[in-house]
Structures are given as C-alpha cells and as structure tokens.
Subunit: 141 residues, 2 copies
C-alpha cells in the first residue's frame, strides 16, 4: 500500500488518539488550516460506525469552535474529498475576505495577492489556535 495518509512523511500532529489525528497543515497561504485524518484506511464517512463517526464529528466541531474564537475568520470551510487519496480525511479551514482565494474555495482560482504582514499575523493566530485545539481536545478526551 502506497497511501500517503497511512504512511505520512512529515505531519505536524497537534493531537491524536487511537482512531484519528489532528494536524496543522503548513500552507503559507492558508494559516488556520487543519486536517483531521482517520487512522484506518477507510474511504467514506458511511464506512465508520455511529460511535466512531460521532467522535470524529465532535472533534471537527471543536476544531471549528477554536478557529472561530482564536482567529475570528469570515467563514470556516469544511471539506472531505479523498479523490487523490481515498483515505478519509477532513479539511477545516479558516477563511478571510482578504485571503488569496476568497470567496472561491482554496482549490479554486486565486483572486489576489496577500502581503506578508497579513500572512504573518494569520500564522501567529493559527499557531495559537493549534495550541488551544491541543489543550481543548486533551481536556475533552
């Protein structure tokens, strides 16, 4: 099996349990981008049993709540595609009206340049966000 989510190269894991891991995606254009990756190689949400799915959903909501409180984004985007890697993983992304792609999805067409001061400010709050996610999930689970 050559699945990159079964055998990740480098990941910034901020919290994990036996079922899944939460990583901070290092994307210079989108600080505030987190990924929740199911550990087992399953493809779809309906491959999970109800208990596992509820746990995953609870974690996704906690990540969103921390993004909202720490980063005050204009919108939070959620997506799970898995077209390139059919291994269940969720993208949760803080979006800002002045980010490079807004209102397009981050996989769409770039709309503008963003200056480095703005990117650095978002990165600072994203790093704090990652710390708060870690603390929050430690408390909850």
């Amino acid at each position: 099996m050559n699945c990159v989510l079964c055998h990740p190269n480098v990941e910034k894991v901020i919290w994990k349990n036996e079922k899944l891991r939460v990583i901070q995606v290092e994307d210079v254009n989108f600080p505030g981008y987190f990924r929740v990756i199911w550990n087992d190689h399953v493809a779809e949400m309906s491959d999970l049993d109800d208990e596992d799915r509820r746990m995953l959903e609870k974690i996704l909501i906690e990540v969103e709540k921390v993004i909202r409180s720490e980063m005050r984004p204009d919108k939070v985007n959620w997506a799970q595609f898995g077209n390139m890697v059919p291994h269940l993983h969720w993208h949760v992304i803080a979006r800002f009206k002045n980010d490079s792609h807004f209102p397009e999805s981050i996989w769409g067409i770039k709309q503008r340049e963003v200056n480095s001061e703005q990117l650095a400010a978002w990165q600072t709050s994203a790093d704090r966000c990652a710390e708060v996610v870690r603390e929050k999930l430690k408390q909850l689970f």
Copy 2:
C-alpha cells in the same frame, strides 16, 4: 436580506422538514449532486445546537449511503463553504474517475470532456437516487 438560500428562486426539493431541505442540484456535468440546506440563516456548523447538528449529520450520511448504493461512485465528496452565501449548506457529490474534474474537486480545474451517453447514464441513476433518498428520509423521519 438578499440571501439566495433564504429566498431561493428555483430548487428541486426532494425532501424537507421544518429545519432543512435536501435538493437535487441540476448540474449537467455532475449528476448525483445533492445539497442539504439549513432553513435558518446561520453560517457555521457550530451555530447549530447538538440535536440539530446530529439530525443534519444523520441526513448527510443517509444521502451518502443512497448515493453509494444507487450510483456506485468512485468517491463521495462532502463540502460546506458558504463563502459566497454565508448560509449553512452542504454539498454531497458522487464522483467518478472519468467525470470532468476527477481527481480535482468540482470547483477545481476541468480535466477532460465527458461524452453525452455517460452523462445521460449518470443522470438516470442520479434521478433514481433522488427517489430513493426521498423514500428513505420519509421512512426515517
């Protein structure tokens, strides 16, 4: 308020309750594209209370299950962005290796042309899928 999801023009609603509606999106390139729209003008998943969110998630899973059994897609894609319309709505989309954008998201770069016979075959199974979603949700709720 000019929100197009609060005041939709034309929608093919296949099932609804007092909280949300499930529509079949009429996209010729992506038959098997459903949208689950929260009726109230809320922006984020974490704006819903736990009971409402569980109901929404249950419906999303049922839509996915029917898409899988009726259309046998290569992958199911889920997304909620709301960058253009900050009104909570989910996209659930059957994806096929030979569709126009695979493995890109449907909001990404087109990869190929798809012949009309293939599109018509997907449309037929998508229409059956819509009927099964309707029946299934009627039974469950």
